[in-house]
């Protein structure tokens, strides 16, 4: 068996909505498959089918060689699921939540305890182990949720937007933990809205939109496909915006656009940025900000589909707001901040 996760022609309809309209995907054993797409793209539906929570209308899906419909029991015995919500019991302690899963899986009491202790240590939750989960922070809950999905040592993990609503620090921690699991040979299907996250963790990425796979490949292949990086230039004096636009266009070509008070252009040639700097300098235009940043998810979508990603509807607005506040930037510019040129 070469594929741990495999689907062919997966389709699912909810009343008016065609959630999945024929999805093919596959993940080799021991790799991470990133599923990238906006809210409502069908990511969660796909994960729920793989985790045996939903049955597909058409097509078939196999996990570790077992059909998710006919051999649901065999699939359940091999997978772990971490959903968009931290599905842990608020009124139990961290330890009790893990004991619950261990006992449900038929582990003897002693083994359940040992496993709970081991996982709490691994996820840096030992100090909070005896506290009710309702006192946990968002990041701690997610870590406990991930730990809960690992109690039975699943060989295949489904992670549905595991970092949505987390601050960058907690997100980084969760990434490290996932890398550790994959190093142990676990196969994972990871859905995310963040290109950066898929880039960091996935061996291959499928981009999904409106229930269809619209692009597929390694992170590098995808980035090449959508133009990779974007150069953003903001003149100090807004009155010079048009002049600067014309100058940049002469260097970079017709894809140059004005967005707000900046000029943006996709970059394929590494020599472009120095050329733009020289040109603007030569014309005496003072540049307030010059940034080279990776394509955002929005730009991936624009490039791949010709339409922008649907507006985000965060399901946990308070936590999402917190995350944005910690990041200190509204979403897109975040990844580019470190690469800003002075």
């Amino acid at each position: 068996m070469t594929y741990a996760i495999q689907a062919e022609g997966l389709a699912k309809r909810f009343k008016e909505t065609q959630a999945l309209a024929g999805v093919d995907l596959a993940a080799h054993t021991g790799t991470v498959l990133g599923m990238l797409g906006p809210n409502g793209a069908g990511k969660t539906t796909a994960v729920r089918i793989f985790a045996t929570l939903l049955q597909p209308d058409e097509g078939r899906a196999e996990v570790a060689g077992h059909d998710v419909v006919r051999e649901a029991g065999a699939v359940r015995a091999m997978v772990g699921l971490t959903g968009q919500y931290a599905a842990v019991d608020e009124n139990l302690t961290g330890t009790e939540n893990l004991l619950l899963i261990g006992r449900l899986l038929g582990m003897p009491r002693r083994d359940s305890r040992a496993r709970a202790k081991e996982l709490l240590e691994r996820f840096h939750l030992t100090e909070a182990a005896g506290r009710a989960v309702k006192t946990f922070s968002g990041g701690m809950r997610r870590r406990l949720d991930l730990a809960a999905s690992l109690v039975g040592r699943p060989r295949i993990l489904f992670l549905d937007e595991p970092t949505t609503g987390l601050d960058p620090h907690s997100r980084g921690e969760l990434w490290d933990m996932l890398r550790g699991l994959v190093a142990d040979g676990v196969t994972a299907l990871l859905t995310t809205q963040y290109l950066n996250e898929a880039d960091q963790l996935a061996d291959r990425i499928v981009v999904i939109d409106r229930g269809r796979v619209i692009a597929e490949g390694t992170p590098n292949e995808l980035k090449a496909q959508v133009g990779g990086q974007v150069l953003q230039v903001r003149p100090v004096n807004r009155a010079e915006l048009m002049t600067a636009h014309v100058l940049v266009m002469e260097e970079a070509g017709p894809q140059t656009q004005i967005e707000g008070d900046s000029i943006t252009v996709p970059v394929k040639d590494p020599a472009l940025m120095p050329a733009v700097v020289r040109r603007l300098d030569g014309e005496g235009i003072a540049v307030g900000e010059l940034t080279l940043r990776r394509s955002s998810l929005d730009e991936v979508f624009l490039a791949l589909t010709g339409h922008r990603a649907e507006p985000e509807q965060p399901e946990e607005p308070s936590e999402a707001d917190e995350a944005a506040a910690v990041a200190g930037a509204p979403g897109e510019g975040r990844e580019g901040a470190e690469r800003a040129v002075r």
Binding site: A51, T52, A74, R76, A77, L100, L104, E118, S149, G152
Partner: protein
């Protein structure tokens, strides 16, 4: 540590061995009970509220209703217990609804366990809480002057009857818990339903004092039958009629709500 892969006793299709299913059900019941330790509010629901009901009915209403608090307590305690038990079934609905909306059921369903274990485990744990509240109220009632003149078998049979009835009503609670959008709606819906049903019965007053049309309803009201049966068993006296009616109602409620509840549970959780 060597990888001790868990071999849950189940077939490929997901059928779970009955013994494993039983153990999973007990594990789920344990979960519901151990949660009380970290959630003192639940203790209020299952202990303070019942105690408050007994005190309020006895000392506020007792004098006017029956001449003295003790005299009224003798009539009303079984009814107060029945009412409290029915209210408490709605905690089952709220807890299931919370599991549903918080994604806990998703996690449980992705595990190789019996599909019914989370549901039956919850109901089992909640019935244990019913027994606890009932014992608390009877103990308090006796401290305030209530006497069980029907003997120990009367107490056991009466208690069992109320629990059987509660188990039947639990299936309506399951249905409400599955269909409601959130736990607050469960509460609002449940209380607007249970309040009038319990108060238009013989739980707290003799129905002869009601207007004729209300008496007609009260005579068929299951809460009347259950209260009369429980009262008769605790105090001694003829109880065959009310006991049979109570059992018939319990069976009827279960026959209607069990399939509806299971269908909603399978569709949603």
């Amino acid at each position: 540590m060597a990888a001790t892969t868990v071999a849950a006793p189940l077939s490929k299709s997901g059928r779970v061995h009955p013994l494993a299913g039983l153990q999973q059900t007990f594990t789920m019941a344990w979960r519901s009970l151990v949660a009380v330790k970290h959630n003192p509010l639940e203790l209020v629901d299952y202990s303070i509220t019942p105690i408050m009901f007994v005190f309020l009915f006895t000392y506020v209403l007792g004098g006017q209703m029956a001449g003295s608090p003790e005299a009224y307590l003798k009539y009303a305690l079984p009814g107060i217990i029945v009412q409290n038990t029915l209210f408490m079934t709605m905690y089952t609905a709220m807890a299931l609804n919370t599991d549903l909306t918080k994604g806990v059921f998703d996690r449980l369903r992705s595990l190789p366990i019996a599909r019914s274990a989370p549901l039956i485990g919850r109901i089992t744990a909640d019935l244990a809480k019913h027994v606890w509240a009932m014992l608390l109220m009877i103990g308090l009632g006796m401290a305030l002057g209530f006497r069980i003149t029907g003997g120990l078998d009367g107490l056991l049979l009466g208690g069992a009857l109320v629990i059987v009835f509660a188990a039947a009503v639990s299936w309506s609670a399951v249905l409400i818990g599955m269909l409601a959008g959130d736990a607050e709606k469960v509460q609002a819906f449940a209380f607007t339903l249970i309040f009038p049903i319990t108060f238009t019965s013989s739980a707290f007053v003799r129905v002869e004092t009601m207007p004729g049309w209300l008496q007609a309803w009260s005579d068929v009201n299951p809460v009347s039958h259950l209260s009369d049966a429980f009262r008769g068993l605790l105090l001694g006296g003829p109880v065959a009629g009310p006991v049979l009616w109570s059992l018939a109602w319990a069976a009827g409620i279960a026959v209607v709500f069990y399939p509806l509840a299971m269908r909603a549970y399978r569709a949603k959780a």
